[in-house]
């Protein structure tokens, strides 16, 4: 049996947080190519032979985790109520923080056209966002950013992995009044400043 591979499995097994390749390189006194190859190989092996858990890449690292299909059985076994799904309001707010970070509560409320303070609080409590300093404007409002927990929860490796906002196209409005498009674009420039 491959000794490097076994040690790598042991570390992943005891970690409940994603482990970076760098950390593995250092702990195992190896190089990043070998580690990356072992990780890929382990993932393939688990996907082919083990039904209960897999290896996933998230938040800049790797971790062993169960598969989504066992949610019901795990909840039952551990008698865990779980946190429940995020509300639409929370998801909208989270989307805005993810794409506009660092962003203040008034800015989020403005984009949603609804006061979003309560929703931000919920997201703070669930550690999906965090306070990251203050904005240097009147009132010095807090700035919010997404957390590593956010990346892990949504299975993202890096915040830059999110599709560009522009890729979310216009669902409505086929025919376009050119005059207005120009006007909108000029306003859009103002807003981006």
């Amino acid at each position: 049996m491959n000794e490097l591979r076994a040690a790598l499995e042991a570390i992943l097994f005891v970690s409940n947080e994603p482990v970076t390749v760098d950390a593995l390189v250092e702990a195992l006194d190896s190089d990043s190519e070998s580690i990356a190859a072992q990780l890929a190989d382990l993932k393939r092996f688990l996907d082919e032979n083990v039904g209960g858990f897999t290896l996933e890449q998230t938040a800049g690292g790797w971790r062993l985790a169960t598969r989504p299909e066992h949610e019901a059985i795990l909840k039952k076994y551990f008698a865990k109520k779980g946190e429940g799904r995020l509300s639409i309001a929370a998801l909208e707010t989270l989307a805005i923080v993810a794409y506009r970070q660092p962003v203040t509560a008034p800015e989020v409320s403005d984009i949603r056209s609804v006061n979003s303070t309560g929703v931000l609080r919920t997201l703070l409590e669930r550690r999906l966002i965090r306070v990251a300093g203050r904005k240097e404007v009147v009132g010095s409002p807090f700035l919010y950013r997404t957390t590593r927990e956010f990346l892990i929860h949504f299975g993202l490796n890096d915040i830059r992995d999110l599709p560009r906002l522009e890729e979310f196209g216009d669902l409505i409005g086929e025919s376009i009044s050119e005059e207005l498009v120009t006007a909108v674009q000029s306003v859009a420039v103002d807003h981006s400043e």
């Binding site: 019901a72 309001a89 909208e92 929703v119 965090r130 949504f154 906002l165 409505i172 207005l180």
Partner: protein
């Protein structure tokens, strides 16, 4: 008007629920198959306000945000009626431009939220290994890279809360040291022995907190009509004298209830 709020209100809602005025406007635009870049502002404003009226009839509280948007729509409507200044340079600004821009931006985030919602469902089922405490460290530890200002102030608050629980006596004593009622009694009794006295004499050697208690107590005694103050010239000595109107000292205690 989020899902949560509507659920909390406990009413049977037959109208679709929206997550804000922009959400409602997007719905109306979609429902009427309107070109978002050329919103017919008059009918949309009418439909929008009609929806608010319906909410009102259902006893749903209409949030200020919705009313603000109604005002904005009416404002845009009035702007549209004004003749445009054709002589102005460049493109004439469409009064709807800012609103359309906001609608487009909001619509994108709404779509992102839908994507997040799908991911949320799937990822709720992904569980990690249980956390293990690090060997050779009994104390609970946290990853500093994930510690935020929120955690910092939370830790501070916990320390203070614990301090308060551990030192109830000290804090109580500090507050109890100078009861207004005691000071009222002390001054009143002094005056029963000797009247009038110089207030400055009575205040000598007292610390700041005690002075405040005496000051408040003196004012209360004046208000009750038990003593009178007299100052013959500005910045001169203040004389305190007992009046002919005797006070029940038991009533002094009520001034500590605040």
């Amino acid at each position: 008007m989020t899902d949560d709020e509507v659920q909390e209100s406990g009413y049977e809602v037959t109208l679709p629920t929206f997550h804000g005025p922009l959400d409602l406007l997007l719905h109306l635009i979609k429902q009427n198959e309107i070109d978002i870049y050329d919103i017919p502002i008059v009918p949309i404003t009418e439909q929008y306000t009609a929806y608010l009226d319906a909410m009102e009839e259902l006893d749903l509280e209409i949030a200020a945000d919705y009313i603000y948007m109604a005002a904005l729509l009416i404002h845009i409507k009035s702007q549209m009626l004004l003749p445009r200044d054709e002589s102005a340079e460049g493109q004439p600004e469409d009064p709807r431009a800012d609103l359309v821009n906001r609608l487009l931006e909001y619509q994108r985030f709404k779509q992102v939220a839908e994507t997040f919602a799908e991911l949320d469902v799937v990822r709720m089922g992904v569980w990690p290994r249980p956390a293990v405490s690090l060997p050779e460290s009994e104390a609970a530890e946290i990853d500093m890279s994930e510690v935020s200002l929120f955690d910092l102030i939370d830790a501070f608050r916990n320390a203070l809360t614990r301090y308060k629980v551990n030192h109830p006596q000290a804090i109580e004593l500090q507050r109890m040291l100078h009861k207004i009622s005691d000071k009222m009694g002390e001054l009143y009794n002094k005056l029963k022995e000797k009247s009038p006295i110089r207030l400055q004499w009575f205040l000598e050697g007292r610390d700041r907190d005690e002075l405040i208690a005496i000051f408040l107590g003196t004012l209360e005694l004046v208000r009750l009509g038990g003593i009178s103050l007299q100052q013959s010239d500005p910045f001169g000595d203040i004389l305190v004298a007992i009046t002919a109107n005797p006070l029940d000292e038991a009533q002094f205690a009520v001034y500590d209830q605040r």
